[in-house]
């Protein structure tokens, strides 16, 4: 095994838990701490990627472009990346993000729909950016299918393709099998992005490393959608003990998590009842807070909403189906009651 590249996405995946309300001051503090600890890549974007600010996903408190610009101003050695989901964001926002200072972009699609990302990889490579492919909800398909989709992204110019467990639904062998399949069939690098809904974010990431992953993701304190992500500080401590530390200061990262990020957090994401249901039912982690809010508003158990969304095979970005399912369940409850 070799030391992986670590990407911290507190300022992107963490944006979900913050309800997309990160401020310029918070971004400055977090980027400074990560940069100082030696984390090489920092992702800054609305939780649902560029142009995610919307009714569907939640409006940003501060424009992501302003946050990106601030991050780039503060960083001394870490690279600033953004996330883009084709269908939500377009090349227009990608271009603006490049002008504001991003050095790389991660381009995310549902794991079966890689062919909607060709335009965006094309622009990123043309403009000299590092481009990383993100195959979301990767638990939904077997490794062979993931290979086919990964090859498309590689062909479009991806420097790395990630197995993304958006639902936090994988077990360690699921993570390893997918990473291994991509590693044996792709020439580019392979990455792994975990969610902690089944309490396995760190374990799955280590299994992915063992299977050959070149890049891994974390967020400070695990701040992220659903039960959150693999905590960056915990990952780096584990890497250090494995003799695979890529040059990150463990104690500085512990301080960043404890003294910079923890005080900002509205709550500590953890695998509680509803978050476990997300991992168990295999639905998109960001559905959690929407299901809780709508469940409360319409008197429906969020767990029932999440399980039904899993049954309907909702995919990344389909937050509007949560209202739909909630109304159906509320109507069914009314009928039973009368």
């Amino acid at each position: 095994m070799k030391a992986p590249r670590v990407t911290d996405t507190t300022l992107r995946d963490g944006s979900h838990a913050m309800r997309h309300q990160f401020t310029v001051e918070q971004v400055r503090a977090i980027v400074k701490a990560l940069d100082d600890a030696g984390v090489p890549v920092i992702e800054v974007t609305h939780g649902d990627g560029l142009a995610g600010s919307s009714i569907q996903y939640g409006f940003s408190g501060t424009s992501e472009m302003d946050l990106i610009e601030e991050a780039r101003k503060v960083t001394t050695r870490a690279k600033i990346f953004a996330l883009l989901l084709p269908g939500i964001g377009t090349r227009k926002e990608l271009k603006e993000a490049i002008e504001r200072g991003i050095q790389g972009v991660r381009i995310a699609t549902q794991c079966t729909e890689a062919d909607i990302s060709e335009q965006h990889f094309g622009m990123a490579k043309e403009m000299g950016l590092e481009a990383v492919g993100f195959l979301m909800m990767a638990h939904m398909v077997p490794p062979e299918k993931l290979v086919e989709q990964g090859l498309l992204m590689e062909q479009y110019g991806a420097d790395c393709v990630y197995v993304v467990d958006s639902a936090g639904a994988m077990l360690p062998n699921d993570a390893a099998a997918r990473v291994k399949a991509l590693k044996s069939n792709l020439k580019c690098q392979v990455g792994y992005h975990a969610h902690n809904n089944l309490g396995l974010a760190v374990g799955n990431t280590l299994a992915a490393l063992d299977a050959g992953a070149d890049q891994i993701d974390g967020t400070l304190r695990g701040l992220g959608a659903g039960a959150g992500n693999a905590p960056t500080e915990l990952l780096v401590a584990a890497l250090d003990k494995l003799g695979l530390n890529p040059g990150i200061d463990v104690f500085k990262l512990l301080d960043a998590a404890e003294f910079v990020v923890a005080p900002m957090m509205p709550f500590q994401p953890m695998p509680d009842r509803d978050a476990i249901a997300i991992g168990y039912a295999g639905v998109y982690s960001t559905f959690l807070l929407h299901a809780k809010r709508l469940g409360e508003q319409y008197g429906v158990d969020p767990l029932d909403i999440l399980v039904e969304l899993g049954r309907r095979k909702a995919v990344a970005g389909q937050e509007d189906w949560i209202l739909d399912v909630t109304l159906d369940l509320a109507n069914a409850q009314k009928e039973t009651a009368t």
Binding site: A51, S54, G87, I116, D320, L323
Partner: protein, 312 residues
């Protein structure tokens, strides 16, 4: 030359032998109205669509737009290719004096959404049908805007992966740009935003659209808005029978960057007619159904102009 009554139809061609072109072909053969479809033009000689067209007695050619231009009898041309190709086609068709009904998001001509502004552009030589998501959602945004000004409209279109062809996939940004612009220009929203999601579930899902509208003003006449929306739904159902609101409009409050606003949410499902494409492809059906409606009105208008002696 049409005084003798033999020419009570306008000759038309479809360019593009893919899913949309094929479905439109079946619709035009089933309900020809004042249109006589004579040609399906593609560019791939091996195309299944061209083989089907030939077996149905149409002229099926792989010479694309050139074949259309060579036949001076063809007055009306439906373009079901891609945004990129239509930019070139639009110019050639205009020079040749043909009327183009554009089913791509190229948007060379004015936008048309049948129940909103169909009658306004009958003398243009190129009209654009925006996108499938635009055809589905703009009527309802317009229905709200008729009652109370719409500050912001957002649509999320979820379609079955199997119903999204290579044109949509390779030009997904154009879908977003053209749809959001259409929501503003025809829907009446001060600002429009479009999101498209492909869902690979098997069996495939029906086309779903969620429309979010933020209203101007602190109060809403909920009954009047609901009535206007429901009326619009029946107008669209005239030509897209599978167009259905899953619930009455939902009224709510939402914090936005411009303060607290009234939010109206509409959940729409479109089941296709199944003329050629399967019923889950409501996204493609609404496009071809709109094209059929627009084409028929242009054909009638052309025939009226001819019979009244005005040169077309």
């Amino acid at each position: 030359m049409s005084q003798n009554g033999h020419n009570d139809k306008v000759k038309a061609a479809i360019i593009g032998s893919g899913n949309i072109g094929s479905d439109l072909m079946f619709k035009l053969l089933k309900q020809p109205g004042h249109i006589e479809l004579v040609m399906l033009a593609g560019i791939d000689p091996e195309s299944e669509g061209l083989k089907r067209a030939a077996s149905l007695g149409l002229e099926a050619t792989h010479h694309g737009i050139d074949a259309v231009l060579e036949n001076p009898d063809i007055k009306l041309v439906f373009d079901a290719t891609s945004a990129h190709a239509h930019v070139r086609h639009a110019k050639a068709l205009k020079e040749a004096g043909r009327i183009a009904i554009d089913l791509t998001p190229a948007a060379r001509g004015p936008y048309v959404v049948p129940p909103v502004n169909l009658g306004e552009h009958l003398d243009e030589d190129n009209v654009n049908l925006i996108t499938c998501g635009g055809q589905a959602t703009i009527p309802l945004i317009n229905a709200v805007n008729r009652v109370q000004p719409v500050a912001y409209a957002e649509m999320v279109s979820t379609i079955a992966s199997l119903s999204a062809g290579p044109g949509t996939r390779q030009n997904i940004d154009e879908f977003t740009f053209t749809t959001s612009r259409g929501m503003e220009v025809i829907g009446g929203a001060q600002r429009g935003k479009a999101i498209i999601i492909l869902n690979p579930a098997d069996p495939p899902i029906m086309m779903r659209n969620t429309i979010y509208v933020l209203l101007e003003g602190a109060d809403a006449d909920e009954d009047a808005i609901t009535a206007s929306v429901e009326h619009m739904v029946t107008e669209v159902q005239d030509y897209v029978p599978g167009y259905m609101l899953k619930n009455p409009p939902v009224f709510d409050q939402r914090d936005t960057p411009n303060g607290k606003k009234i939010l109206v949410t509409m959940l729409l499902e479109v089941t296709g007619a199944g003329d050629w494409l399967p019923t889950y492809a409501g996204n493609l059906d609404i496009m071809t159904a709109s094209a059929l409606r627009v084409g028929e009105l242009f054909a009638q208008h052309l025939l009226e102009k001819e019979s009244s002696g005005v040169s077309a």
